[in-house]
């Protein structure tokens, strides 16, 4: 009996769905499950519901998105892809090549994404000229955070070159303070490495090395200098850093045990949550050198059947890039809006600095994807680089050997 009723209802809803006014529905696979992130997603859900859509939430926690990607693979292989999936960087193109992404160019053109998004970020959202994903936020990765009181007490300015950083760190070490708070996990090693590489190679060198994988740049003397600086930094880390989580490193800076941390702007969330004030308790600055490394979260739209789902996809895309969502979401998450025309009055100083730098580096062609956070390269190549970086940082390997391993590892990952 019951099955007859549900059968009849679903048949009815199918008739409704195929009629001209389809109710937008969206099943959204994402891995924003921690406190602040979940709150940010709830904002989107509410906006979606207010516009008459019905949202099916599919949060998959674990492994920094690995578990979500496994779920996605299973869904795609069984021919039942979710409407929208939290994906980023080259992974969008990889899925496009599997032939499973949808085209949302109509929404993008109607809302003029081309002009409101920085060109290099817009590039990630396009698959062979058509729009296939919508950006949510911009995290800056090459930040350096500092304890204001510790720097003041030791008469140290925020360093603007790596030599200044080394001088400051030597001074701090003499004063008995850990110069650099760091957690020995591969991705954190890689986060420091790319900040150092951007500073020493410069924006063009970074692009050649970590976007184009140019062998000459990868094996150049400048790259040896990058690894030399990594070795120097290793000396500024306390001996107990292996395996430490990034937020524990942040709290070392917070309570004055350590002076600096090199980490993306999610570290700001930790400072803020502890009631610290930017500019007074802690300082933020871009890591020494020019350029801006971004980590952009986005929703990729998968090819789905049914007008209701297609309508849901378009509504979702429109909302995600909309002014209101970009503001509210990023206030919650600690990142900055991907579109450049959002008023930043409610954001803190670090976020405003980030937005200014993003605009400036976009104009000077120094707005670059973060390799350590999966924006610049595909998983296999990025992983090969991280293997070398973390092996070098955690052993006494020479810089020349590391550079050779880097070239071999990348060749082997193809």
């Amino acid at each position: 009996m019951n099955t007859y009723v549900t059968g009849a209802v679903s048949a009815l809803s199918m008739i409704v769905a195929t009629s001209a006014l389809a109710e937008p529905t969206a099943e959204v696979l994402h891995y924003w499950t921690s406190g602040g992130e979940a709150k940010s997603v709830a904002v989107l859900q509410k906006e979606f519901a207010d516009k008459g859509g019905s949202w099916t939430d599919m949060p998959v926690a674990g492994g920094g998105g690995d578990a979500a990607m496994t779920a996605l693979r299973a869904r795609v292989l069984s021919g039942n892809a979710p409407t929208a999936v939290q994906l980023k960087g080259p992974a969008i193109q990889e899925w496009y090549e599997e032939g499973v992404l949808a085209d949302i160019s109509s929404v993008a053109e109607a809302n003029d994404w081309e002009t409101v998004l920085p060109a290099s970020i817009a590039g990630h959202m396009k698959c062979e000229g058509t729009w296939c994903a919508a950006p949510v936020n911009v995290h800056r990765v090459d930040w350096i955070w500092a304890n204001a009181e510790v720097l003041n007490a030791n008469g140290i300015e925020m360093p603007t070159t790596w030599d200044e950083f080394n001088a400051a760190a030597d001074k701090l070490q003499e004063a008995g303070i850990i110069p650099l708070a760091h957690g020995g996990q591969a991705w954190q090693d890689a986060t420091i490495f790319e900040a150092v590489a951007l500073g020493i190679l410069g924006p063009d060198g970074y692009r050649k090395a970590f976007v184009e994988l140019d062998n000459e740049t990868l094996t150049s003397d400048a790259m040896i200098a990058v690894f030399d600086q990594m070795r120097t930094l290793r000396g500024y880390v306390d001996s107990n850093f292996s395996g430490r989580d990034w937020n524990l490193a942040t709290s070392m800076v917070m309570n004055g045990e350590a002076a600096f941390q090199i980490m993306g702007d999610w570290a700001k969330g930790e400072f803020m949550a502890a009631g610290k004030v930017p500019g007074e308790d802690f300082l933020c600055a871009s890591a020494p050198g020019e350029g801006f490394l971004y980590n952009v979260d986005s929703f990729a739209m998968f090819d789905v059947d049914g007008d209701d789902k297609k309508a849901g996809q378009e509504l979702l895309a429109e909302l995600v890039v909309g002014q209101n969502f970009q503001k509210v979401f990023n206030l919650n998450k600690g990142s900055i809006p991907a579109r450049t025309d959002v008023a930043l009055d409610e954001f803190d100083d670090c976020a405003r600095l980030s937005a200014d730098d993003m605009q400036a580096s976009s104009d000077s062609d120094a707005l670059l994807p973060s390799y350590a956070h999966g924006m610049a390269l595909r998983g296999a190549q990025a992983g090969a680089i991280t293997d070398v970086v973390t092996a070098h940082f955690n052993s006494d390997m020479s810089s020349a050997d590391a550079v050779q391993m880097l070239a071999d590892g990348i060749a082997n990952s193809m």
Partner: protein, 290 residues
């Protein structure tokens, strides 16, 4: 009809599990073998490309570390756990008073999951929190025990935790073996005035040969598939110094979207297991025939 049922009931009852094993074990082994010969990345592809994934595997320094670690970890873990387990079993076999309680205490670690063991040992071995900090707190300022953060020694911390977890289980196996040795022979030896240590080395231990084999097989498959202990204790670090084949395979399949590479490493792991299990099966089957 009834006669037919009588003859075929065992086959009918076994058929479902036989089919399940055929598909979910051997079928998927075959699938993995196939995929390991392709250039699969994010999703499996089925065009065979030859042994390219195996070439990549053996050119990778990370795999070299992982595979080498398997032998360091496996050998130390199996040998030490067996020696320790045997020693504990022999000591417990001396008709001591609270044997039951002590046996339970030694067996308890086996009741913990590897994740719990790994996390607890991570805290114990952490130089800033655990043993080192404690002994230094007692006034021994020069005491260092930082294996966990030393890339050359970190693998031994995994051995340590794994032995702590498993040696009680090996003890229980050996204790059962000791008790199954015919008491008459032992009494006869004692009547002849043979010293106890000779009774053990010449009579009891040789009589327990099958138990050694069982313990070896159980421990070696634990060693090959070790994954959760490494993830909880070191996360594969420092760097990738404590990677094992299982964690390598996980990283390739689930973090890096390199399914072909993961499949080839899985096949190598399986070959290692086969090289241990096949001689065992062979000897078992032969002794039954004989």
């Amino acid at each position: 009809m009834i006669k037919w049922l009588e003859e075929n009931t065992p086959k009918l009852v076994l058929a479902p599990s036989f089919i399940a094993v055929l598909i979910f074990v051997y079928g998927f082994i075959a699938w993995t073998a196939w995929v390991s010969l392709t250039r699969s990345r994010l999703l499996p592809k089925y065009e065979i490309e030859g042994f390219i994934q195996y070439e990549r595997l053996f050119a990778s320094p990370r795999w070299e570390t992982a595979f080498g670690n398997l032998f360091v970890f496996g050998t130390l873990f199996i040998v030490i756990a067996m020696v320790l387990g045997l020693a504990l079993a022999i000591l417990l076999d001396q008709n001591i008073r609270t044997e039951g309680a002590i046996r339970t205490i030694y067996l308890y670690p086996m009741a913990l999951s590897m994740i719990v063991t790994g996390t607890a040992w991570k805290w114990i071995l952490n130089p800033g929190l655990g043993l080192e900090a404690m002994v230094r707190g007692w006034g021994f300022e020069n005491f260092t025990f930082d294996w966990l953060v030393d890339p050359d020694k970190a693998i031994y911390t995994i051995v340590l935790a794994a032995i702590w977890q498993s040696s009680g289980f090996v003890m229980a196996l050996f204790l059962a073996g000791l008790r199954s040795v015919d008491g008459e022979i032992i009494k006869a030896a004692q009547v002849d005035g043979i010293p106890t240590w000779r009774v053990y080395t010449a009579i009891i231990i040789p009589a327990m040969a099958p138990i050694f084999l069982s313990a070896f097989i159980v421990l070696s498959h634990l060693a090959v598939k070790s994954f959760d202990l490494v993830i909880a204790l070191t996360g594969g670090g420092p760097g990738y110094a404590t990677d094992l084949p299982a964690t390598y395979m996980y990283a390739m399949a689930f973090s890096r979207g390199d399914i072909g590479q993961a499949a080839s490493s899985a096949m190598i792991m399986m070959l290692v297991v086969f090289s241990i299990v096949v001689p065992y099966l062979y000897s078992e089957l032969r002794s039954k025939d004989g």
